[in-house]
């Protein structure tokens, strides 16, 4: 990790800041430099209101920085139009949310297949890829169940499967265990460990010390200022 000639950077933030206009303006994220390499497993920790979600939304291209440069897979996101930003979101980023965000009127497999409808490409193998992703999270036997009949942990695993379809460059999780008890949380964290072992790049936002402890690297954020916790090389 200390080696600059190591894995390619997936995320590169250069002096990225986010100010919400208002009176007074809220500086939710102050000029931040952050690099996430391929295969990284990074935890972003900080108290409530510190700017964790703001950072994650910028990383996920759901929000645009007020200043600075953000590159994902080397693509400068500033130059992208709406369709390209959405395209990058669809093809390169997988989201996992605290409240799962599954559609209750669709079966498990349909929820997972939803990940691909905004991507160009063949519909033909969509079902197979969804099944594969569900098997990866250990839900190969619940393909046709509806979210309302699943436990919280199972729902979150469906959401993870949805994020995994199409092999994203980056998996972003905002408080993924926030709605789960400690037992089920551990299952999700084990799953994250497995995905990390398979080479997936993960960025997880959390309050929870148990969660951040699993990550290979931690950054702390306080009042919009990001500081590394674990010793490691940061490339500006």
């Amino acid at each position: 990790m200390a080696n600059a000639a190591g894995p390619a950077p997936v995320v590169e933030l250069e002096r990225v800041a986010r100010v919400f206009p208002g009176t007074p303006p809220v500086e939710a994220l102050k000029a931040t430099d952050l690099v996430i390499h391929e295969g990284d497993y990074i935890a972003i920790v900080g108290p409530s209101g510190s700017g964790k979600s703001t950072l994650l939304h910028i990383l996920g291209l759901l929000d645009q920085p007020s200043a600075g440069i953000y590159r994902i897979d080397g693509i400068d996101t500033q130059e992208l139009g709406e369709r390209e930003r959405a395209g990058v979101r669809s093809a390169r980023i997988g989201f996992v949310f605290q409240s799962f965000h599954l559609l209750n009127h669709r079966s498990t497999i349909e929820n997972v297949m939803l990940a691909e409808i905004y991507r160009p490409g063949s519909r033909a193998k969509r079902r197979d890829r969804a099944i594969e992703a569900l098997e990866q999270v250990g839900l190969g036997h619940r393909l046709t169940s509806f979210p309302t009949t699943l436990s919280g942990g199972e729902r979150q695993r469906v959401a993870v499967a949805r994020a995994l379809v199409g092999e994203p460059s980056l998996l972003l999780a905002d408080e993924p265990t926030g709605n789960l008890d400690s037992g089920t949380s551990a299952q999700i964290l084990d799953l994250f460990d497995d995905l990390h072992a398979e080479g997936l790049t993960l960025a997880v936002i959390t309050h929870d010390g148990d969660v951040s402890a699993r990550a290979k690297r931690q950054v702390r954020i306080r009042d919009g200022v990001v500081t590394p916790v674990t010793a490691g090389a940061e490339h500006a």
């Binding site: 759901l62 693509i75 959405a86 965000h101 559609l103 905004y118 991507r119 460059s169």
Partner: protein, 433 residues
């Protein structure tokens, strides 16, 4: 796995935008996916879908039913007076001379000849023809008993009408009993009479087996028949009807007042022209010929009257239906905020979100249009069956109505779709769901 990234600078020959476009995936939503998303959304909660569409279903049904019923009823009205009016031609003498009492002994006699019925009967296309004239009997009253009963009323003022035998056919006479007089009676000037049902009741004549006598003043008439009904010239129903020949002799009738002609359907115009020539070869333009109104005119005027009214009603119910769809779609946009955020995170653009909601409401509208059309047609058929009408429907209606429904759904979905597309993904994702 991330694809190896080629920096824009290395794409020497490519414009920068092109090189970015080639490296960056663009969000995309196929029509098939749009269709299946809308289908799933609408079928996931069928009861709700149906209730949402109810207003539009009823609106389209009302529209189809009113258009269909207007057409059916219009056709019905037309076919009723079509048949009777379109086959009736009446010829009358010139107005001034016919109505001038001092001209009675002059040339006027030549206007309509006594054998007008026979002459017209020979024309091709004439079914029946006969003359008809009101007979002036002065103050003479009609009675059926030879002696006047001083206690009860037995004398009446009853109109007397002279006809040629052909007239009975021309007005489609139905007899209650007996028979009508014939050419023989007419030529001989026999004192026979046929009674309209009203006249028969007042004179208390019910049977004609023995040719009962009635009296007009001091004139005696033998009743040979009683009429049940006539299709034209309803004044015959209250009259004492006598042969022309007798009216000329006894009451000094100068000339027929009109000729009633029953023609075959479609022949009215033709016969109208020929009749005047046949009756007055020297001066055909003198005669006044009444032709039936053109059926086409009647039909369109009836239809447009009925349609205008009902179309307004249908339009109002459609408006209410559209508001219903708009309302529920808007509510569902708010309900589905989380879903909107999720879709944006999964790569939907604002347009994709708008397209989805628009498509859903349009599909809902089309569905409502389809159901409404079926309901409307059922109504037309049911009402027609009840009234024993022939249901008539414009062929385009069943095809256009669902399109109208879809258009209404599209219109109703516009604001909610815009609202959905304007939802910020971050705010939407914060919503639970």
């Amino acid at each position: 796995m991330p694809e190896p990234y080629v920096p824009p600078a290395s794409g020497v020959e490519l414009a920068e935008t092109e090189s970015i476009a080639s490296a960056v995936p663009r969000s995309h939503l196929s029509f098939r996916d749009l269709l299946s998303e809308a289908t799933v959304a609408l079928t996931a909660r069928p009861a709700r879908t149906l209730l949402t569409a109810l207003g539009t279903i009823l609106g389209v049904a009302a529209l189809v039913a009113t258009l269909g019923l207007a057409k059916t009823a219009g056709n019905q009205i037309v076919s009723r007076f079509d048949e009777l009016e379109a086959t009736s031609v009446i010829v009358r003498p010139p107005q001034d001379r016919g109505q001038d009492p001092r001209g009675q002994n002059q040339q006027q006699v030549s206007s309509i000849p006594w054998d007008a019925g026979d002459r017209l009967q020979r024309l091709n296309g004439v079914v029946a023809a006969g003359t008809k004239s009101d007979v002036s009997v002065g103050n003479a009253l009609a009675r059926s008993v030879p002696l006047i009963d001083p206690l009860g009323q037995s004398e009446f003022q009853i109109p007397v009408i002279a006809v040629s035998p052909g007239l009975f056919g021309a007005v489609r006479t139905e007899l209650a009993t007996g028979r009508v007089f014939d050419d023989g009676h007419n030529q001989r000037g026999d004192n026979v009479a046929v009674l309209g049902p009203g006249a028969a009741r007042r004179l208390n004549v019910t049977r004609v087996d023995n040719s009962p006598a009635i009296f007009i003043g001091d004139t005696t008439l033998a009743v040979v028949g009683i009429i049940e009904d006539v299709a034209r010239e309803p004044e015959l129903l209250n009259a004492i009807i006598i042969p022309d020949g007798f009216a000329r002799q006894r009451f000094a009738l100068e000339a027929p007042a009109e000729v009633q002609v029953e023609v075959q359907i479609g022949a009215a115009e033709l016969i109208g022209g020929q009749a005047a020539v046949a009756l007055s070869p020297n001066d055909p333009t003198q005669l006044r010929v009444s032709l039936p109104p053109s059926p086409r005119q009647v039909r369109s005027s009836v239809e447009s009257d009925v349609n205008a009214l009902f179309l307004v009603l249908g339009g109002v119910s459609l408006l209410v239906g559209a508001i219903g769809i708009a309302n529920v779609t808007l509510v569902s946009v708010l309900e589905r905020t989380g879903e909107i955020g999720l879709r944006r995170a999964l790569g939907a653009t604002r347009r994709h979100v708008a397209a989805q909601f628009l498509f859903e409401s349009a599909a809902l509208g089309a569905l409502a249009g389809l159901l409404g059309t079926s309901l409307g047609i059922l109504t037309v058929v049911a009402v027609s069956a009840n009234r024993e009408w022939t249901p008539v429907l414009d062929a385009w209606l069943p095809f256009v109505a669902p399109v109208i429904g879809a258009a209404i759904g599209l219109l109703a979905g516009t604001y909610p779709a815009w609202k959905a597309s304007a939802t910020e993904p971050i705010a939407a994702l914060r919503a639970t769901g």
